[in-house]
């Protein structure tokens, strides 16, 4: 069935308009980021001029060199990395064990425990933060990184997500391994885990991103600049009087650009993780 020339032409114009609109939306999305990077590379006296500059002129890296004089940037980056790595690896380990138990082992109270944990997904973190803060204070962990990664070790969503994934792996496989004399740890780490690549990747990416970008936790628990993570460090830098705007921009750039580069490298699996988990960061 061939549409007549009029509708075909109209459809082509329509398609062109939608293409244009999409280009425009895409530009609006990236423009603030480009502006950010450009200003951070522009000499202080020439930055933030109007009309806005879209190329760094004169180009300089001085703004970046001024960051360490104002906040311990490298230290903060290491802190962020440390918290994110421990939270991710630790919570994954705890979740994998629990998910295996909920998926494969039968023990009294299993479904009850699982339901109670699941219902805790409704509890907002802001509700538990005051008691957790008091707990950390009693343990002497306020203003330490442990105050951030310890509570992050329990990730109910990740337990749930992994259990659902484990349930899709045929049980005949572990039955066969058990007949061959394999123990549960062997079955879990030599069979189930290698078969769960996509699910584990999704949880790794999401947990890491959530920890790396966390602002609420560090705001509550951390107070010394040397102990801070990057998000709270950025805000501290901006609210301090000492830093000029270009240095703030340089610091934001230094935080944002590596993340964007990592994202570009892993875009496919990243987007797939978000879509599969349907989780908002």
């Amino acid at each position: 069935m061939k549409p007549n020339a009029g509708t075909a032409g109209r459809r082509r114009t329509g398609r062109l308009l939608v293409d244009l609109a999409l280009w425009a939306v895409g530009l609006v999305m990236v423009a603030p980021l480009i502006w950010l990077v450009v200003q951070s590379l522009t000499a202080e006296e020439a930055a933030f001029t109007l009309p806005p500059g879209w190329v760094p002129d004169p180009f300089t890296l001085d703004n970046f060199q001024e960051i360490p004089g104002l906040i311990p940037f490298g230290r903060m980056a290491l802190n962020s990395l440390q918290v994110a790595v421990i939270s991710t690896v630790g919570s994954l380990l705890v979740s994998v064990l629990a998910a295996y138990a909920f998926s494969r082992l039968s023990f009294r109270g299993r479904d009850g425990i699982f339901m109670i944990m699941l219902s805790a997904l409704m509890v907002p973190t802001q509700m538990t933060v005051i008691p957790v803060f008091v707990l950390m204070r009693n343990l002497g962990l306020v203003d330490t990184l442990a105050a951030l990664w310890l509570p992050a070790l329990i990730n109910v969503f990740s337990i749930f997500f992994l259990r659902q994934y484990f349930n899709t792996i045929p049980r005949e496989l572990d039955e066969a391994a058990r007949i061959d004399g394999a123990g549960h740890l062997w079955i879990l780490f030599r069979m189930i885990v290698p078969l769960s690549g996509p699910a584990l990747a999704a949880m790794t990416i999401l947990t890491f991103e959530l920890s790396w970008n966390n602002y609420f936790g560090p705001l509550i628990f951390l107070s010394t600049p040397e102990n801070m993570t990057l998000p709270i460090g950025l805000v501290t830098l901006q609210s301090g009087q000492s830093g000029s705007s270009v240095v703030v921009f340089a610091a934001i750039t230094a935080v944002v650009v590596p993340v964007l580069v990592v994202f570009l490298c892993f875009q496919r699996s990243f987007v797939a993780s978000i879509a599969s988990a349907g989780l908002r960061g």
């Binding site: 895409g26 980021l33 064990l97 907002p124 005051i130 109910v156 394999a182 994202f263």
Partner: protein, 312 residues
């Protein structure tokens, strides 16, 4: 519990039928679940119970807590600032749901077709870029982007003859500005969800409708959108849950709650009460309110999931 002493490396295959086998399976089960349960008790269930108890006390986090009965709750009923925070938060959540769901759906519909690969890659990447950046960076950046003197938005709006308000000092415009920034930050997420939903719509349905002579608009209204209703519903729920707990951008951009408290949100109020004026009991009572809202939303979600489960 004796289970804790058993080495986890037991190799025998437990047979559920024999009592010994079952108990060994039981032990392994408890062992595997113990780290999660302990952490859960210490960092989730315990604190949750503590928050409930605390909401009946008044406590400054230092001196001994005093039992206050329903004092915190009666105080909440007569707290105009809490009402303001609730109104702001609901307004924000509503605007957030509408803009994200409509925007995400339109973008997904616009992208889900044959188009140039360059444009497809560019749009997907650009839409998702802001979502991977921390709120701290996003909020600081936008504070400058919307700056009344050297901000980009102010300048280009002026170029086309629009005058822009002084966003974060104008009580009428501070919250809308935050709504816009939030849209920029998280639309990529809604877009991905919508696109995934759109791609699950069975193509036979669309083909069948086309063969029956349905127009493109009719296909959209009577085939695609109804088939996508579970996805749309999910996006509404998840956007609402996220938006209702909005804290980072409002706290960073307008730390005091904005002009005339126009950007004060419930979670921000909770934070102020708990960690700035040290009214831990009152803050806990407010947090119970947030929990109640989440509970209602979850019940609605269950109801909706049951309603739509046979629909596909």
């Amino acid at each position: 519990m004796t289970a804790v002493t058993t080495p986890a490396t037991e190799r025998a295959a437990p047979r559920p039928a024999t009592p010994a086998g079952r108990s060994r399976g039981q032990r392994a089960g408890y062992l595997f679940v113990t780290p999660a349960v302990l952490l859960f008790l210490v960092f989730v269930a315990g604190p949750f119970a503590a928050a409930v108890v605390l909401s009946f006390y008044s406590w400054d986090l230092l001196t001994p807590a005093e039992f206050n009965g329903f004092g915190n709750f009666t105080e909440m009923v007569g707290d105009p600032l809490l009402y303001q925070a609730l109104a702001n938060t609901f307004l924000f959540a509503l605007a957030s749901v509408v803009t994200h769901v409509v925007g995400g759906l339109l973008l997904a519909l616009a992208v889900n077709r044959t188009m140039s690969r360059v444009l497809s890659y560019f749009v997907r990447t650009a839409l998702f870029f802001p979502f991977v950046i921390s709120w701290a960076a996003v909020a600081l950046l936008w504070k400058y982007v919307l700056d009344p003197t050297f901000g980009v938005v102010t300048h280009y709006a002026g170029e086309v003859g629009l005058s822009t308000p002084d966003w974060f000092t104008d009580p009428d415009w501070a919250l809308p500005a935050i709504i816009g920034i939030d849209l920029w930050h998280t639309i990529g997420f809604t877009f991905i969800i919508m696109l995934a939903g759109l791609q699950t719509v069975p193509s036979q349905l669309i083909e069948a409708a086309r063969c029956d002579g349905a127009s493109r608009r009719q296909i959209l209204w009577y085939v695609t959108l109804p088939a996508m209703s579970p996805t749309i519903f999910f996006a509404v729920v998840i956007t609402f849950i996220g938006a209702f707990q909005i804290f980072d951008p409002v706290q960073i951009i307008t730390p005091q709650g904005g002009p005339d408290n126009s950007t004060l949100t419930v979670v921000m109020y909770l934070y102020q009460k708990g960690f700035q004026t040290f009214q831990a009991g009152y803050a806990s009572a407010v947090s119970l309110l947030v929990f109640a809202v989440m509970l209602v939303v979850t019940l609605v979600q269950f109801w909706g999931a049951r309603k739509w489960v046979h629909h596909q």
